[in-house]
């Protein structure tokens, strides 16, 4: 049994958080070598059978370093392969995917891909790092399938982002006929898989966000300790100290929620959504404050603030926004407390 703290240590060594936004290709190689993609796979599928908290530990640490490699989508698609009952050569697919062959997935939800029989048409937005993927995992009503990105009728176009640490693509399918061997799930199983991956995505984004918020808060406090104005470090001004303390409280409580929810086997999708909404809003707010606390230099690209701020704002949108998830959770809690 691997303790969560060991995963944090290993990830910090591989991705030190003073080396922000490391090279994508090298990072991806390292992620595969570390065996992290196997963490959430059940043991009978050749994985380590560890819980969400293990994956979250990796996402947290890689979020701290503004990791540019697609570790979040990769962990999702590896799990989809592991759960598949229809995929031909499932074991070899798992081996390929864990070894570094990237299978992409849409990170936003939505999109308008429709299935007519096994033929897919429509555009899938927000597919991360499609340029380095061999396949994309596509969900349409009643069908989940791998689509080779070099197949006929598949076009991939990058949509440049404000976030400099990530790359997103639109994948357009014009009457792509799914190969029977590449069907990952059908019917109810496909629906269940979609829900499960959505929950995993929400936890991953929450962890990435709180990791990122941890680094930018540390950097901000460090800056306030060293920058002198009025013959004293800025960090001596109580007005600024109190703001930093509030951010620390906010972040500490959100992190406690992450780790407690990540070990609850019965956490609902809406609870995961509530966590994600909260964690991403905390990240966004810490970044908002970080720029203000840095002053003018925070508005330049000479310093790191904007990198975190842009990633935080993307995290707010990926996986569904706070309005959506808070409403869903509110509805669920209300129903559970039926008078």
């Amino acid at each position: 049994m691997i303790e969560r703290s060991e995963l944090h240590d290993a990830a910090q060594k591989a991705f030190p958080h003073d080396a922000l936004k490391p090279d994508r290709a090298e990072s991806w190689k390292l992620i595969a070598e570390m065996g992290w993609l196997m963490l959430p796979l059940p043991e009978d599928a050749g994985g380590l059978g560890l819980g969400r908290d293990s994956a979250a530990a990796i996402h947290f640490e890689l979020g701290r370093a503004l990791c540019t490699a697609p570790v979040i989508p990769a962990m999702l698609t590896v799990q989809a392969l592991g759960a598949s009952e229809t995929l031909e050569d499932r074991e070899s697919w798992i081996e390929r995917a864990c070894g570094g062959e990237f299978i992409a997935i849409n990170l936003r939800g939505g999109g308008d891909v429709t299935a007519t029989g096994d033929t897919l048409t429509g555009t899938l937005p927000a597919v991360a790092d499609a340029d380095m993927a061999s396949h994309v995992l596509v969900f349409a009503k009643g069908l989940a399938a791998l689509v080779p990105l070099d197949a006929a009728g598949v076009t991939v176009s990058e949509r440049p982002l404000w976030d400099e640490s990530r790359r997103l693509f639109d994948v357009t399918l014009s009457g792509h006929a799914v190969e029977p061997a590449l069907v990952v799930a059908r019917g109810d199983a496909s629906h269940r898989l979609a829900i499960r991956l959505q929950a995993e995505l929400l936890f991953a984004l929450a962890a990435d966000s709180l990791g990122g918020a941890t680094t930018i808060l540390e950097l901000t406090i460090e800056y306030l300790k060293t920058r002198n104005q009025f013959d004293r470090p800025l960090g001596m001004f109580q007005a600024l100290q109190h703001r930093c303390a509030d951010l620390k409280v906010m972040l500490g409580a959100a992190e406690a929620l992450l780790w407690s929810e990540a070990v609850k086997p019965d956490a609902t999708l809406a609870q995961a959504g509530g966590l994600k909404a909260h964690a991403t809003e905390v990240y966004r707010f810490v970044c908002e404050e970080a720029i203000q606390l840095h002053g003018g230099i925070g508005l330049t690209d000479e310093i790191y603030c904007h990198l975190f701020m842009k990633r935080a704002n993307l995290n707010v949108q990926l996986g569904g926004d706070a309005d959506h998830w808070r409403e869903a959770l509110g509805r669920e809690v209300l129903a559970a407390l039926a008078g």
Binding site: Q238, D246, V249, L257, L275, H278, G330
Partner: protein, 397 residues
């Protein structure tokens, strides 16, 4: 201490509470006097059941519980919606720890057994001009010999003494010297509240409760044998008092807040707003914040059980709880609408009663008392984040 053992304890406490916990206690206490009687009765019942003092050492009946066991007992007290132990709190935590750790053998024998019989203590720490800056307290104690007895004669005023109107005894901080650093001249005394010269005046709070009192001290004579620690060592003894309860109460309160979420749900339904997306969002956001407050309180205790406590952690737990409690009461107040502006009876001894104006006003108890939100921020900034301290010695220009 394994999980099976803890689960067995949980079931034992739960079934005991099912048979013994008072029902309808909110409605039963319409006056503060009734509340006091109900509190006393419930405490004595818990003593009998063996759940009142799990944190005391094993030689006491019901004592000797590990922190993990204490957590289980407090979780059950909260989830079972039992009355909070307010009246006995200062006695079983503050007075006990102080006397047990710093008192003389004579003091231990005289006072500790009495606590289990229902004798109650209050704190005489704060003063009108010594709030967050407690060490600047001015209540004077002069040492005299009178009729062959060694005494302190005490003059001054204390404030914010919780439930002092019902207290038998008081943990009193006095100034015995004005030389040197202000902390150094403080002495810790145990005072009989019925001693001549002690006057208690309950303070009317904005929501109509009288939870705190002023205590006036006019030539009160306290025998030197009632001193805890050496003369001038009171500040250190007071730290023992104040650190006697770390985490259990905030965990208990967070759980109680979670258990009270139905009150807001009821309000949403009553006002036919179950499909209002804005209301659902606010409710969902609150649910996450309440879960977060529970999670950080749990984490703090779990760390303590494993022997980990970092400076500032307790402040994070407190500021999280107090802000979430404010958010909770504000959402209820907003959704309650005009109805909440008409006076309604208050409930004693509960922070989430569904009388939303009262709950909102009461929520300040946690952002102000027990080290204000601002003091906690300072602790976090200076001791945890290690931001530079302000230079001392501010002078009026």
């Amino acid at each position: 201490m394994n999980d099976t053992h803890l689960e067995a304890l949980r079931l034992e406490v739960r079934s005991w509470l099912a048979a013994n916990a008072p029902k309808g206690w909110r409605e039963a206490s319409r006056t503060h006097e009734d509340f006091f009687k109900a509190q006393r009765g419930w405490f004595l019942k818990l003593v009998e059941g063996g759940y009142a003092i799990p944190h005391w050492p094993a030689e006491w009946p019901g004592g000797g519980r590990s922190l993990a066991e204490q957590k289980v007992i407090y979780e059950e007290l909260a989830d079972g919606d039992t009355p909070r132990l307010l009246l006995s709190f200062a006695s079983t935590f503050h007075a006990f720890s102080t006397i047990h750790e710093c008192g003389t053998e004579e003091q231990k024998k005289r006072y500790l057994p009495k606590i289990l019989e229902g004798e109650t203590w209050c704190q005489g720490f704060s003063e009108p001009n010594a709030g967050s800056d407690l060490a600047s307290l001015k209540t004077r104690a002069e040492r005299v010999t009178k009729d062959g007895r060694e005494l302190y004669v005490v003059n001054g005023q204390k404030i914010w003494s919780t439930m002092a109107q019902y207290a038998d005894r008081c943990m009193l901080l006095v100034r015995t010297s004005s030389d040197g650093p202000k902390q150094a001249g403080i002495t810790y005394l145990l005072m009989d509240m019925k001693a001549p010269g002690v006057t208690v005046r309950p303070i009317n709070q904005i929501q109509g409760d009288q939870e705190f009192c002023e205590v006036f001290l006019d030539n009160v004579e306290i025998p030197v044998s009632e001193r805890v620690g050496e003369e001038g060592a009171g500040w250190a003894v007071a730290q023992t008092t104040l650190s006697s309860e770390r985490g259990l109460t905030l965990m208990e309160l967070s759980y109680r807040m979670r258990g009270a979420m139905w009150r807001i749900a009821e309000l949403i339904r009553k006002n036919s707003r179950s499909d209002d997306p804005g209301v659902l969002r606010d409710f969902g956001e609150l649910a996450t914040k309440v879960a977060s407050a529970c999670a950080i309180a749990d984490q703090f205790l779990a760390n303590r059980i494993n022997g980990i406590e970092r400076t500032g952690d307790a402040s994070i737990v407190k500021n999280t709880y107090s802000r979430t409690l404010r958010d909770f009461s504000l959402l209820g107040l907003r959704l309650g609408g005009m109805d909440e502006q008409y006076l309604a009876p208050i409930v004693f001894g509960d922070l989430t009663t569904g009388n939303w104006m009262a709950d909102f006003m009461n929520s300040y108890a946690w952002t102000i008392a027990g080290g204000s939100e601002e003091v906690q921020r300072k602790i976090i900034a200076e001791r945890m984040l290690e931001m530079p301290r302000e230079p001392k010695g501010w002078v009026v220009a």
